[in-house]
Amino acid sequence: MKECFGWTGTVLLIDLTTKEVTLDHPDPAIYRKYIGGRGLAGHYLSPHATREWADPTLPILIFTGPLTGTLAPTSGRGTIMSRSPLTGAICDTSVGGRLATQLKYAGYDGLIITGKSDTPCGIEILDSEVQITPSNLHGATSNEVFTHLESSILTGASVACIGPAAENGSRLASIMVDRHHSAGRGGLGLIWAEKNLKYLMVKGTGETHVHDMDALKETREDIFRLTAASPVLMGQHGFSCWGTGSLFDLMDSRSMMPTDNFQKTRFPNAHQLNAAAYKKKFVSQKHGCSGCHILCKKIAQDGRPIPEYEAMAHFTALIGNHNIDLVLDANDVCNQLGMDPISVGSTLACHREITGQEYTQKSLMNALHKMAQGDDLGHGSFFFANTCGRSETSMSVKGMDLPAYDPRGAYGMALAYATSTRGGCHLRAYPLSHEVLRKPVATDRFSFSGKARIIKIAEDINAIVDSLTACRFTFLAASLEEYTKAFIAVTGVQISGQDLLETGERIYYNERIMNAANGFSASDDDLPARFFTEPGTSGGGVDIPPLDRTEFLAARANYYRVRKLDENGNPTPEITKRLGLDQ
């Protein structure tokens, strides 16, 4: 591409079978059409979306965005994408740490890895030098990989790797980045293992060229001002001070705390296991992704990360554990072995419901290690519950386990879980922002009214956020208005926020097209039956009845109309063409 502001104009392709390294220079029109990150990765995944996860030709895609590596706040994130071994649907994870920034500084908008190495290997990138190196780290934990590579890596390089869970075939396998960050959901680590790829190391010495630095600085100040004014981000109870664990008290007080495998929604011991309890016990320090001023990660004095809210909740309320040390241990073991704590917690809860067995410190740790050794539990609750003939105990959507937000306490969340293109996931539409956190304004969480269009618009916005790339959390304070200014300042491309939203619609629709090609339809856009038949925990003036199935289906039908899908949730040729996705 001619102009090199924001984007580098180069995508790096590595074939692990042939060891061939090639460069692609996408047409500028492709950048405009898909922006970067999740959008561009989706574009490149599209022709391969129906390949089986074990097919060496199925690519792993790692993409940066036009804002990556710039002064735009929280722009250090990137996307890792492929087809999920857990769900069979498309799967991408917004990943933090330094990975995307270093890739960009090395000169690449994205990296596409295909093929299969005949022996375990690592990929090492230093600007234009790309090496595929044999690795003797097979079976090593993530910490062992980071420690081993630390001595040989250049200062500031980023390392991503898989742990033993992936190598042993777990469909919950994650990819760990820079020790404390994880691309957790959907089992993408298993695809790395299938390609015999143990780690990726990237270091760049370049920079991201910015078209108008003054304008970028101006909008950066606007965003700083907005985040400073946000209780949930920078407030004294906000993520910056406490980590996302500050949601723990709130979710319990709102009767949205999934307890005993979603059989209840309040956790009597919540006040002993909240973020304040972690802060008191494990004096922590702030940590975060490249280019972020919020720094929502918390690291305990002994170097282990304080769990994110979802892991805090799933390793306590969901599985009946009251031991705070065990939560930290379980979370850390998941990181070491390379497994997604959300799906792990959910699978343990499913196992507890089926067997009636309570966890002890020992049995819990045993279960985690067995999961990472390729045990049945290591394939997630959907697989495990079906194996036991108890499919109703899997709290998952499209096979992906639900995170720690009970949908009976927020109906937009119910709809968002059901329609999410990557399965049981709260991040696609992130209705938590308005149904609980009151941003941009509060909506009635016990109503489906208006939610279809709200969810659709939010999915489009978040598709753009993941493509620019920026962090979802910043949008609890700033809006697309400020980030559009940042995008224009960086790239020089004149565009409005609403135009970007249309691009978000394209990115999302492309994902529905890929899922439809893999056979997903309305019957997959659904919630576990429990939510329609069993109430949550009422009290404190709040009633939590089961969701009304008729209302849910009406809201879903509205969503299909708003999203312009047919009544079976499938893309239509007319909209596919309008969005330019038919080529």
Partner: protein
């Protein structure tokens, strides 16, 4: 959706921001609904096709706001850029759209949250609720009001006032609502249980809005009981506080304040430094206008007064402090607490007025109203003195 459209249409009228039966509010889920029929709806409907929005708010502002907006728009090329805190933080600027067509409105709404159409009204939209449109509409009116009166005083002082401004100013002043002079009856404290605290806060919130001392959505209110600060939630409407108050223990044992007002830190710090039990915060217009007025013409901090002012400024004896919303390094959480703890009230530059009370909201409310009335009087005395 229809219920929400009706609700915010009514609110615009009851808060004196629009004339009865004037607001047009549309909401879209799978179907588009409007609060009332109107021939202009045909044009507005087109906006839903081209913008990713779920609601739209339109109305001609009530007087004197319509006159103010049209006047400012007449003197501005493409966008008004007020300098009060709400605009600096949330609106950035307010575009002017000179054509009443969907395509012209679309261009501006793609860029900004609210748009002025001279002679017609204000249009704004939301992506999750008509409440967003309502908030932006009301913020636009507030910002333009403050700008209009601030500019007038500055021009008068600098002898650059023209006849047109003078004439419009007279017209606007004639249409200003009379200041309130009597106080509302509010429950007496100190309060000893949570239920009474919550009820007293809700009652006081309703009065602050009813007296026009804040435009609904903004402002906050708190009460301290047994080491816990009860505070209105972020973005809550002060006249509808039931269910929107968070208990925040001051010992840091819980993070239930995650959805609390962004001023929680400042409130807590006031309580730590004083014996006050309650705090009221509103955005009374003349207090804000006077806080932005400074005769130190050659000050090196000019243009950055809201964060950099180092002068000990007062208006009618009330301290004026700099500070931005929230907890950033230049946040008002650093400047406000000492000021309010020592005098019971303080104004944040370009932002609003905070007052405290020892037992209940009676004294805090009295201070709020009294200071606003004094600022208003002071403003017009200054105008007189320069004439």
């Amino acid at each position: 959706m229809k219920r929400l459209c009706d609700k915010y249409a009514t609110k615009l009228v009851t808060q004196g921001l629009a004339a009865p039966n004037d607001p047009i509010i549309g909401g879209l889920d799978a179907e588009l609904v409007w609060n009332r029929p109107d021939p202009r709806i045909e044009e507005f409907t087109k906006l839903f096709d081209v913008l990713s929005i779920n609601s739209l708010v339109f109305s001609k502002p009530a007087e004197p706001y319509a006159t103010i907006l049209d006047f400012l728009a007449g003197r501005t090329k493409s966008a008004i850029r007020p300098e009060d805190t709400e605009t600096r933080t949330f609106l950035h600027d307010i575009p002017i759209c000179r054509e009443f067509t969907a395509s012209a409105m679309e261009v501006n709404l793609k860029k900004r949250k609210a748009v002025i159409i001279p002679g017609e009204g204000i249009i704004s939209c939301g992506t999750v609720s008509p409440e967003q449109g309502f908030v932006f509409y009301s913020s636009t009116i507030f910002a333009c009001f403050v700008l209009f009166f601030s500019d007038y005083l500055n021009k008068l002082r600098n002898k650059t006032l023209d006849d047109e401004y003078r004439e419009i100013f007279q017209r606007v002043v004639k249409n200003l609502p009379q200041p309130h002079t009597t106080l509302p009856q509010q429950v007496s404290g100190p309060f000893t249980d949570e239920d009474t605290v919550l009820a007293a806060m809700a009652e006081s919130g309703r009065h602050v809005v009813g007296y026009g001392l804040v435009d609904s959505f903004f402002g906050n209110i708190s009460y301290k009981l047994n080491g816990t600060v009860y505070i209105s939630q972020t973005g809550s409407s002060l006249e509808e506080l039931e269910g929107c108050i968070d208990p925040c223990p001051m010992d840091g044992s819980a993070t239930t304040g995650l959805t609390a007002s962004s001023e929680l830190s400042a409130h807590e710090d006031v309580y730590r430094r004083s014996n006050y039990r309650c705090i009221l915060h509103g955005h009374p217009k003349f207090s804000v206008i006077m806080s932005m007025y400074c005769d130190k013409q050659d000050c090196p901090n000019r243009g950055k007064c809201h964060i950099k002012c180092t002068e000990c400024r007062t208006v009618e004896g009330i301290p004026i402090v700099p500070g931005e919303v929230g907890t950033g390094p230049t946040g008002l959480c650093n400047t406000l607490p000492p000021a309010i703890a020592s005098s019971g009230s303080a104004i944040v530059h370009g932002h609003g007025l905070f007052t405290a009370g020892l037992n209940d909201f009676n004294k805090a409310f009295e201070r709020l109203l009294d200071i606003e009335n004094q600022c208003r009087k002071h403003y017009f005395n200054m105008v007189k003195s320069y004439e």
